[in-house]
Amino acid sequence: MKEETKVIYEKPIPLKNTYNAPYWDAADRHELNVQKCNTCSNYNHPPGPSCANCGSIDVFWENLGSTITGEVYTYIVSNRPFLPGFQNELPTVIAVVQLEEYPDIKIIGNVLHGNTETVSIGTKVKMVWIEATEERAIPQWVMV
């Protein structure tokens, strides 16, 4: 029997729950799904049981596809791993990314291979998906 390459992913994998499952299920398919309010038209990210902007329960999911671009709204460069799996990827850039086509949406992630020299507020990035397991994929950001 031929041995297959195993991908070892040591970092925390997002836990799905009632509110976030549509987001993470879409991520597993390499798509971005975001909750939106039918009443006030605001996007709700993170998602919840009702709209965090106006309280309406008339919320739905909008699929934004697989071509997602944005720019760094704010970020930090972490030199210390506070969670498992990050010790081999220091420094870790954690960024809040504002989507180019939907500026109402801000999504946190790592700017992969970024550092103090290459990442700043306004840095252009695009979403990529990292395969964590056979079933799960994690949205991340790379510089464009």
Partner: protein, 387 residues
């Protein structure tokens, strides 16, 4: 709130020993702080009919403290979470006294914050972080597991938009460390910090170096609140509560959605309206300082410095003893000790009382004092005190 102006006062403050490893339970620390506050006020334990505290599964409860002081109080109350909980519980105490449900209330915070459950990260399980936070699954998989990282996201953008630099953060740290050199009980007593040393310290997580983080200590603090009328029976100088805004919450509390607003922005107008004073009148401050940047952001939020001038203000040495607004004069949580905000309350009470008169630790003008609490960018509270 206007009708209770100066009607209530803090009449006792006390603390336990402060250390890296207390060797005792949080209950024993709390009892030590409570006894010290009672002695300070000249009250006996039986005079207290309300006991309250806040914690994060790292402490004892107020029922136990009342029990082991030998008291059968009317009210015990505990709440989860800190930062601005001292202000909130003081407001609750006032409400209870105002409505005749209690006469004199003791509020404490006790924690083995260094040897026990540490706030600084690493102390919580990953599942607890993901499930416990609203939206936790959107931050924890990206390595953002520490308050320093969350607040850093706010800090980076705010500093960028307002021309604030690493050196401005450094002025907060060096000013507070300088205060700690006058306080033999401070953790960093005997360990001054120069700007040169600060600037050459690496980031743990940008824009924060280890100096920008609050320290972690084992200790308990306690304060006693009663009516100004009843305060006449106490031996201490009462410090009156001129006004407070106990707690405000930003509408969407997730850590990165509304990064340009913080709850303190909403506390400030209500605070000054309730107290009937202006920010310009404030002469001395205790500003919640879990991180250096949090101080800069609150100076702006509370109108203590005009927006856009905060950097120049701290660079000119205005947080120091001879500055325009001596702040965290015991060293703050950056260099004195950490009880989730309460040690800063103890210090401002002592300054307003003029307990340090005749020493270099006494601030010259203490007529009006501000004390702020910051649970996070999403939750804040504050009060204005006078003699």
């Amino acid at each position: 709130m206007e009708k209770i102006r100066e009607k209530y006062a803090i009449v006792g403050v006390g603390e336990s020993n402060r250390s890296k490893n207390s060797g005792v339970t949080p209950l024993e620390l709390a009892l030590e702080a409570a006894r010290a506050a009672l002695a300070d006020a000249g009250l006996e334990a039986k005079d207290i009919d309300g006991f309250m505290s806040y914690s994060e599964m790292d402490s004892c409860n107020p029922h136990q403290v009342a029990t082991y002081l030998g008291v059968r109080p009317k009210v015990v109350k505990e709440m989860f979470g800190g930062g601005s909980s001292t202000e909130l519980l003081i407001a609750e105490a006032i409400g209870l006294i105002e409505t005749g449900q209690a006469n004199t209330v003791l509020i404490f915070r006790s924690m083995n914050g260094r040897s026990g459950v540490r706030m600084g990260g690493g102390g919580f399980s990953i599942d607890a972080l993901q499930n416990g936070f609203d939206g936790g699954s959107f931050i924890i998989p990206y390595g953002a597991g520490s308050p320093g990282q969350w607040f850093g996201l706010f800090a980076t953008r705010h500093m960028h938009l307002n021309g604030l630099t690493q050196e401005h953060l450094g002025h907060v740290c060096t000013s507070f460390y300088e205060h700690a050199q006058r306080n033999p009980k401070a953790f960093f007593y005997g360990k001054p910090l120069t700007m040169e040393e600060y600037m050459s310290t690496a980031h743990l997580s940008s824009p924060f170096t280890k100096h920008d983080y609050c320290l972690e200590s084992d200790e308990a603090n306690a304060i006693i609140v009663t009516s100004t009328e009843r305060a006449k029976d106490c031996k201490s100088v009462p410090v009156k509560i001129l006004g407070m805004a106990a707690r405000e919450v930003v509408s969407h509390a997730h850590y990165w959605k509304n990064i340009d607003e913080v709850a303190a922005d909403y506390v400030a107008p209500r605070l000054y309206e309730n107290a009937g004073v202006s920010p310009e009148d404030i002469k001395v401050a205790s500003i919640y300082d879990c991180f250096s940047w949090v101080v800069l952001r609150q100076l702006e939020a509370y109108g203590l410095v005009p927006k856009g001038e905060v950097g120049d203000f701290v660079s000119a040495g205005n947080l120091r003893m001879d500055g325009k607004l001596p702040t965290n004069t015991a060293g703050g949580m950056l260099s004195e000790g950490y009880t989730h905000g309460m040690n800063n309350v103890l210090e401002i009470v002592r300054q307003v009382r003029r307990e340090y008169e005749g020493t270099e630790r006494q601030v010259k003008d203490t007529e009006l004092a501000i004390c702020t609490g910051w649970t996070g960018p999403d939750v804040a509270g504050a009060m204005i005190l006078c003699k």
